[in-house]
């Protein structure tokens, strides 16, 4: 099983200047997949989730184009070969 993370510009430096990170391993849920990402790119974790383990309020995660806000959050299923985008939300001022 494999998933492919696509990281936004501000996180790439923290992931060894990579835009994409391919993860091999069992990832039944988004949380599983993120745990695998943290093990490969530990500096990305605290930028994406808070110390409570919740996705930061102005960060969006998409699995194959669907926002996990509408598919079960971190428990959302991750199919084999999924493409997971981590993106800053359209917020600011």
């Amino acid at each position: 099983m494999a998933v492919r993370f696509v990281l936004p510009g501000p996180l790439r430096e923290l992931a060894g200047n990579r835009e994409e990170v391919r993860i091999d391993g069992g990832a039944g849920s988004v949380l599983d997949a993120l745990e695998l990402l943290w093990s490969r790119c530990p500096a990305v974790r605290d930028r994406v989730v808070t110390e409570l383990g919740e996705v930061r309020p102005h960060v969006n995660i998409f699995v194959d184009g669907e926002s996990i806000r509408y598919t079960g959050g971190l428990a959302s299923a991750v199919p084999d070969g999924a493409e997971i985008f981590i993106l800053p939300a359209l917020s600011g001022g």
């Binding site: 501000p10 996180l11 974790r45 808070t50 110390e51 409570l52 930061r56 960060v59």
Partner: protein, 374 residues
């Protein structure tokens, strides 16, 4: 992202560390008359807290940039901002079991000269963090976090923030903090036990006007020469204490309003302090469209409007709680920034003012540093 300009400070220079809603800027001057601007650092991030640590031979800047998207970490620079640390793991974070997550770093304060590796950070939600290893790791002050009154603290307009940390220069264990909205708390044992310190401070917005705690303290300033002397700018109310904060006396004499945020005390004279009154909590702008700093020379017995060089027409400005600072030179320099992105400075204790910058993002913090003089 914008290109960041850098300054190259020298010994004896005055630096202004200016935190804004969209990044940080560093101003440098040799004569406090002409200024060179560097920045923006951390473009896009809110920088509510900056500090300079000149202890133990360091020349270290600290900043607490908070990205709306990616959270906040404490970052430091030993080359005046040409490079900044970027810790892999967030260095200020609430431990498991607190059910809390960091929202903003509001204050960074280096410890005493006798403890050169100690630093303090005040954050939102209101809590105090301490580092004993020069900022490598930080721990929550559990006694304050577990204080039985903490669950009854309420967030003000800026959030539930611990925004002021004062280290008593005459008592090694005494630390004073202020929370909006919770009031002031003091420890005499370095942070193992805390007690409220609000006697005489009014809480206009509560049914009981003089509660033990719950006041919305906006800023507190402490004299280095007479540490028992403190000034306090409250959410309505201007106070002075001459007994280490055990009792507070109203000193809102001859001011257009006793509402405001910013406050600074003279570096040498315990009778001199500076404020920027705002019209009211409903209209948080300078009264009459005039930008005026008020200065007392007699401990708050009277306040004098300082306005030479400041706009006196259609100037509906707001100066926030950490956006005013004094340097350590003689005569003292006074500096402040506005929510409209202006930065003003006076090299003569407020008599004459000059606009140092216009068009900055909203200014939320200003710190003045004299290199080589602490």
């Amino acid at each position: 992202m914008p290109e960041t300009r850098h300054v190259t400070p020298r010994s004896g220079d005055t630096l202004l560390l200016v935190g804004t809603m969209k990044g940080a800027f560093i101003f440098r001057s040799t004569d406090r008359g002409s200024w060179e601007m560097g920045g923006p650092h951390f473009p896009g991030s809110a920088v509510y807290a900056m500090a300079y640590d000149g202890r133990a031979g360091r020349q270290r800047l600290w900043a607490g940039p908070q990205s709306m998207h990616w959270g906040g970490v404490l970052r430091s620079s030993d080359d005046f901002g040409r490079s900044w640390t970027n810790p892999e793991e967030a260095n200020v974070k609430f431990p498991e079991g607190t059910a809390a997550a960091l929202r903003q770093i509001w204050q960074i304060v280096p410890g005493r000269e006798s403890e050169p590796d100690t630093l303090y950070a005040g954050v939102e939600p209101a809590a105090l963090f301490v580092s004993r290893d020069a900022g490598e790791s930080w721990t929550l002050d559990e006694a304050l976090w577990n204080h039985p009154q903490r669950p009854r603290w309420e967030p003000g307009g800026g959030g539930l923030c611990l925004h002021t940390i004062l280290l008593d220069p005459s008592r090694p264990g005494r630390i004073r903090i202020a929370v909006s909205t919770g009031g002031m708390y003091v420890t005499d044992d370095g942070g193992s036990a805390w007690h409220p310190s609000n006697t005489g401070v009014r809480a206009e917005f509560l049914p009981e006007k003089y509660p033990e705690f719950g006041q919305c303290v906006h800023k507190v300033a402490q004299s280095r020469q007479r540490p028992e002397r403190l000034f306090l700018q409250n959410h309505w109310g201007l106070y002075r204490s001459d007994d280490n904060g055990d009792n507070w006396k109203d000193v809102a004499n001859d001011v257009p309003s006793d509402f405001g945020f910013a406050m600074a005390i003279h570096p040498e004279d315990p009778d001199s302090a500076f404020i920027v009154p705002l019209e009211s909590d409903q209209f948080r702008c300078t009264p009459e469209g005039k930008l005026r700093v008020y200065r007392t020379r007699d401990g708050g017995g009277s306040w004098q409007a300082l306005q030479r060089g400041l706009p006196q027409e259609d100037a509906f400005e707001t100066v926030l709680r950490d956006a005013m600072a004094v340097d350590s030179l003689q005569p003292a320099g006074v500096y402040f920034g506005t929510r409209s992105g202006k930065l003003f400075g006076s090299p003569d204790e407020g008599d004459e003012w000059t606009e140092l910058a216009d068009g900055l993002p909203p200014v939320v913090s200003v710190r003045a540093v004299t290199l080589g003089r602490g």
